[in-house]
């Protein structure tokens, strides 16, 4: 993953525009998009194979949210802990769980539009908190 992102940047340096964001967050975004793509392909492939012995019933949303939160660094947990519950759950399931917004809505028993607006307000609140704490990426 790391190799693919770096060699892609090497081959296509014009795809990163420093005017529109810092390199670190751009690289993380590229890696995340690739990882989600692979995870979704993997899931789609497995759904076709009903006899896959590694298939387990999916965990509950609460368990999944808690496990993603626990995987964060202490700073990350503190930052995301300051968000409203709906914002926190939407970001943990969508970004860290790799779920689409419609899957996230189903897991949370809410509407897809609500999930997207929670992701947006959550990200804006995170950014505001990071700026006031002087966090840069």
């Amino acid at each position: 993953m790391c190799q693919a992102v770096f060699t892609e940047l090497w081959s296509h340096p014009e795809r990163f525009d420093p005017v529109e964001g810092v390199l670190r967050s751009w690289l993380v975004a590229q890696a995340h998009a690739r990882a989600v793509h692979i995870a979704r392909s993997h899931d789609a492939h497995r759904r076709q194979d009903r006899h896959d012995p590694t298939d387990h019933p999916p965990p509950s949303a609460e368990v999944e949210i808690a496990s993603h939160a626990r995987a964060l660094t202490e700073e990350g947990r503190r930052a995301i802990g300051q968000l409203a519950p709906g914002e926190r759950e939407a970001i943990l399931l969508a970004y860290f769980g790799g779920h689409t917004s419609s899957e996230t809505a189903r897991l949370l028993g809410t509407l897809e539009g609500t999930v997207r607006s929670h992701i947006r307000s959550g990200l804006m609140n995170l950014r505001r908190a990071q700026e006031s704490e002087g966090v840069t990426t």
């Binding site: 060699t7 090497w10 014009e14």
Partner: protein
């Protein structure tokens, strides 16, 4: 001056969902189409990505990843930004049992879990779906490597000395590594190199209109690979790094942001002297 229309014109919620990769492909394409002509939304996307990147833990990827990267770009001697050792030196000391796939990409490294998850349910959750974050984390510390990795092409406007460095390189014997000619065989550009680096000297290309730029390609392999943008000035000098694996170069005309694959007829073409 960017015109920012009413809020309702911008897909703000979908933009946030896009930042978390939570849209389905069709919706993602719609947001990408909007982003192509909306700088306000590109700026907001960059802000969202910064917020998310700040949550990502910083972890160093395994040393082998750096070796794969430097091998893939044809610059095996670049020092590892973490250890300071060159890729070659580390490679020499790598245990012989470590499988090193020198072939195409597709080797995925999962980094150490960012934390141990307690409970069988949570462990199953992790086993069921590889955490995208754990893969994404591998690039976080490696992002600092970008300074060492550099870009294939520098920006000539960043360094007023590039022209004089290139002229000095020209005085060295055997400094010219390639001469690129246009469709009629007339030389229009040269590549020179010395210990300061490699330079692309555009010497007789036409200046391009606003919004267009020359793009440099490596065309010796199975598919053209972009080496970066050369600007729209037909007599420009640009510093770049020339990996030893590159054997043939070509220059196309592209939009300022560059093409993914070359379009139109190459304006110049030449082989690199080995």
């Amino acid at each position: 001056m960017t015109h920012i229309g009413p809020v309702s014109d911008h897909p703000l919620d979908n933009l946030a969902a896009h930042a978390t990769d939570a849209l389905d492909p069709a919706e993602q394409q719609a947001v990408d189409d909007h982003l192509a002509h909306c700088s306000a939304c590109r700026a907001e996307l960059a802000d969202h990505r910064e917020a998310l990147a700040a949550l990502a833990p910083a972890e160093a990827p395994p040393t082998e990843v750096w070796q794969h990267i430097t091998a893939a770009i044809g610059a095996p001697g670049l020092p590892d930004p973490h250890t300071g050792a060159s890729g070659m030196a580390v490679h020499d000391h790598a245990p012989s049992s470590s499988p090193v796939d020198e072939g195409r990409g597709g080797v995925d490294y999962t980094v150490a879990p960012v934390s141990s998850l307690a409970g069988a349910e949570a462990a199953r959750a992790r086993a069921r779906r590889p955490s995208p974050l754990r893969w994404a984390a591998a690039v976080v510390v490696a992002a600092s490597a970008a300074g060492a990795l550099g870009f294939a092409l520098g920006n000539s406007s960043d360094d007023a000395d590039i022209g004089s460095l290139a002229q000095r390189a020209l005085e060295e014997p055997d400094a010219v590594l390639a001469t690129l000619a246009d469709g009629e065989g007339q030389p229009v550009a040269r590549v020179v190199a010395d210990e300061d680096g490699a330079f692309m000297l555009l010497e007789a290309l036409q200046d391009l209109p606003e919004g267009r730029a020359y793009q440099l390609w490596s065309v010796g392999g199975p598919e053209p690979v972009s080496l970066g943008m050369l600007g729209r000035d037909g007599t420009n000098t640009v510093a770049f790094r020339l990996p030893p694996t590159i054997t043939e170069l070509a220059i196309s005309v592209a939009p300022t942001s560059g093409d993914g694959t070359p379009s139109g007829v190459f304006r110049a073409y030449g082989s690199v002297l080995q």
